[in-house]
Amino acid sequence: MANIGSYESKLNDFTWEVAEKELDYKSGDIINIGEYCTDRICRMGNKDKPALIWKGHSGEVKKYSFDQMRVLTNTIAHYLVELGLQNGDRICLFMDKVPELYFDFLGILKMGGVAQPLFSAFGPESLITRLGDAETAAIITQKKHLSKVRKIVNDLPSLKHIIVIDHDGRKPLRDRETAFFMEKVEPIENFDIFPSKAETPSVLHYTSGTTGQPKGAQHVHYSLISQYISAKYVLDLKDDDIYWCTADPGWVTGTSYGIIGAWANGVTQCVLDAGFKAQNWYEFIQEQKISVWYSAPTAIRALMKEGDQIIKDYDLSSLRHLCSVGEPLNAEAVIWSEKVFGLPFHDTFWQTETGSIMISNYPGMHVKPGSMGKPFPGITATVVDSKTHEPIDTGVVGLIAIKPGWPAMFRTYWNNKKVYNSKFVNGWYICGDRASIDEEGYYWFVGRDDDVINTGGHLVGPFEIESALLEHEAVAESGVIGKPDPVNMEVVKAFISLKDGFESSDMLNLDIMNFIRKKLSPLAMPQEIEFIDSLPKTRSGKIMRRVLKARETGEDIGDISTLENDL
């Protein structure tokens, strides 16, 4: 029997108080995510239960019980306080998927700090944008990523501490840098956890938009309510499950469901800190007897590409429930998973801003391959007209809109209340995604309503890439779009016109690719560059990305009356 029971009956009787009651929380109480994921689980009699089973790329395995995690997160929280960090300080996590990443996250929350996770493949330019905007007080990183931090530290006056988790003493640390080994210092058995309340800031996740630099979506400790109950109902996490969320905590799935949702439910979770290789993934499922698997369409399609034969080499019978997030899951992937695993992947839809799952397919509910599913109980969703923002008829494509007020909803964009306010129209939060609803209430994704590129389940802003491209010595101007891709849904494509004195060549193409990869991130690197003489612009000089996109996809260009130059 699935945790959710009947979806239809849950729709009628669910309120967020159900989750509050299960978590023994009453309005006005102290609520600290760090405490809920560690101390509370221990108090419930699960001290010795494995909390984290971690495997590195070299095959090394580490296991931590809930009690070990409780003490380690106490130790980290204590260390941060001793360092002079205070509640409300933004503390960045910038590292691979090592155990410290997970425990530092909870340690920061325990001492009242705001955890600011950033994807470890980000380059210096991506880092400085996000650390500068958040006026981050400290960054916790690994020595392998230290050089990227050192390149920008002098431009970050607010950054007081650079904490290196694996400094081996071979090279001296510099000003503001300090070494901290969580397992080599005196363990802190008891720590006075910060008495955070529902609206106390907890996590700051940066997300990309069409215009301007990335914005920090600010979440609060009360998000726990949504994350706990959606992990229970959608991921169907049960006491004896072994759960694997493949997302990196540099992104919201990796924190909402790769840390908070699973551990608030007291479930054992596994982490594989290694690059993608189908054999290694199947081997990991077999070794750890994974029962619930939360992954992404890009990874699923990459597994499909490796073929069905390889799956027969592994015993994957432990799997019982599969979910997917990050981008729409195509029908073929659902049908494939039913064929090879005997189980469908259940698509889930949500965003950095929503903090928890909004629309989903549920265990026990009929899955229509290719559909996003139906709204989570407690969530009021609809599709609205893009101009009037009024709900529209069944089957008509419009914008997905959610009635504000669910616990995990972001509370603001850091330093950008104006853009935050603009996301709410006619009493709805407008997601920026287009979809339709069929007669049975299932949602069907159509695409983004803006120029944001969804590549491999991650959003990339074209403006950020175009700005960085202009810093390359050969680039005069550029326009960046998402090009449809069979595995990643979209990949970054850049149209570039060169400055006088530069000529297009394969070497220049490679040089520009690497320039962006190192400056921003591998996700932002154009996988394709087209050199053109001039870019389509409006009379006011704005590059018309939609014209570039239409040209790329062969779609109708639409109204080009504002176009300045010929195509």
């Binding site: 493949a121 392998k144 290694a274 690059g275 993608f276 394969d506 490679l510 690719m513 690197m525």
Partner: protein, 83 residues
Amino acid sequence: MSDIKNAILEYIKNEYLEDEDEDEIDFDTPLISGGIVDSFSMVSLKVFLETSYKIQLPDSKATPDAFDSVNNIYKLLKEFNIQ
């Protein structure tokens, strides 16, 4: 043979390792499964090989497995008579 392998190794060290990364890599070091080259960066490695050796690598050949070490990449290049 070793010239080609050394050139690829040098490129990987310069392009994909950070300045402070002290881990030594050799011809057998796992690149993709070891997290040194991610799936997005694999595209730039493919373009490097195509540009340097004047070949076209079809997607069916440019797999994570084929790119997982310098030795694997060299094996792939041999299929295109690069040796």
